[in-house]
Amino acid sequence: MLTLDDVIKKITYKRLATIILIVTCIPIIFPIGLPIPVSSQTTDFRKEIDALPQGSVVAFGFQMSNIGQIPQYGPGYQVITKYLASRKLKVVYVCVSDVSPLTVEDVIKSSGVEAAYGWKRGEDYVITSYIAGEETALASFASDVQGTVAADYYGTPASQIPLMRGLKTLADFQLAIASYGTFTFADMFARQWAGKYPSVPLIVFGMFGTVAAYYPSQVRGVLDLDRGGAEFEVLTRLPGAYSSRMDARNLFGFTLVILMLAGNIAYHQTVGMRRRVGAGFERAFFGREEKEAEKQ
């Protein structure tokens, strides 16, 4: 008789990869429309943006560990940027990793905010050049904006950029957004921005687990990567890649959990149970000894 273990042994690495590919591709080709409930962290994220009057200035801390993160983070940057532009807010993108400036440039172009909302470089948004130093860079920007950002990404001196005039410290901003691909930056943003400038609310686009300890006191709202991004797209009615990916993510997640459970059940059905946990546990859960007795 074919056991679960026999079935699992037939699932080779290539077959497993094929299963994953099929599971994730089917809902992309034929969308299912699974529900996307909105969590409190996402609602709080939006509330902080909605609380700002038109013309307020936002510091958008922008860190990516490598350019390959664009597919995962890109839709989030786009929907946040679109929403900020639609609320007529002004944004300074504080680039604290080497690939950040060209990523922001790409986000602004691909999201079409300049055409849709009349956003203008230098007046409505600024992309800083790469500010090296990680935590030192964040601390330096917060305490001395003009001294840290000598020029923007395009080489325009800060003194000639209308939006930069009057911005001396982080206290001159009405909101701070932190986004990061390297998780240690969560603590850096919390220490150097939220910790030192509590009057400026900090909201985060990053994994919730990295800032859970700071939420909701120092970090006022969180977009938890793909899930949070999808929720934000639903909440703001700005559909994007995240909400369309959620079907695939759901199916993939369920498959992963089922595979893990199946792997464990098969393991304990065969060798693991008798040797490691004892015959009593095996009898209670699987009734193997009873089956053996019946056979005899």
Binding site: L16, A17, L102, T136, V257, M260, G263
Partner: protein
């Protein structure tokens, strides 16, 4: 002169002085000359790290070339040659682009090519890792003790919390997993951070006073 003097003692002394300047400027005396010195040192740090990266890449290629020259004619050799060729080609092409554009790396052509090639390669490499991760969970994540049972349970409920279709029908899982993330997970994270911070300070002090034999120490003996 002993190797340990210039390989170990002098760099440690320089690091101690630079760290001292940063600490004094940050915590005690935020005056302009000290701030200017800090900025200058940071600029040097950026330049030196850039040089170190280029040096590392060149050394990597040289070592890789040596391995290939000894390997002979094999299928593996051709693959490695192709990889090295792609790397060298990319290095030269992007280097020339960066130098030729008056705005260095902010040029449209550089950005377009970087996003089209480097991003896609990087994305592809990341995607290839997914089946391997699932495979590891499927075949190796076995519950054999109380500890692995705890980890497996947390893993499964956390995954389920991130599946919007599941939370729509079982909303009760959200506060449970959020609590796991905010309390035990954050506590473990902070304990690890404090432990590594205290350990790093102790090792740093021991290294400064010459009590901690590091890799360099083993190299010179």
């Amino acid at each position: 002169m002993s190797k340990s003097i210039y390989q170990r003692q002098i760099p440690l002394f320089l690091i101690a002085v630079i760290a001292g300047v940063f600490i004094v400027e940050y915590f005690l005396i935020p005056i302009d000359p000290l701030k200017a010195l800090k900025d200058e040192l940071l600029a040097w740090g950026v330049n030196m790290s850039a040089v170190a990266i280029i040096f590392g890449q060149v050394m990597l290629l040289i070592w890789h070339g040596r391995v290939l020259s000894r390997a002979g004619e094999r299928k593996e050799t051709r693959r490695r040659l192709f990889e090295s060729g792609v790397f060298v080609g990319g290095f030269i092409a992007f280097g020339l682009l960066a130098l030729s554009d008056p705005k260095t790396i902010s040029g449209d052509l550089f950005t377009a090519l970087y996003l089209a090639f480097v991003m896609k390669f990087s994305q592809g490499i990341g995607s290839c890792g997914w089946p391997a991760q699932v495979n590891a969970v499927f075949r190796m994540f076995k519950v054999t003790s109380l500890e692995t049972l705890t980890i497996a349970t947390v893993y499964i409920v956390t995954w389920l919390r991130y599946l919007t279709a599941f939370t729509a029908f079982v909303p009760g899982i959200v506060p449970v997993v959020d609590w796991i993330i905010a309390v035990p997970h954050a506590a473990a994270q902070r304990a690890g951070l404090i432990g590594s911070a205290v350990g790093a300070i102790i090792i740093g002090i021991r290294a400064l006073v010459g009590k901690e034999p590091g890799l360099m120490e083993y190299e010179v003996t």
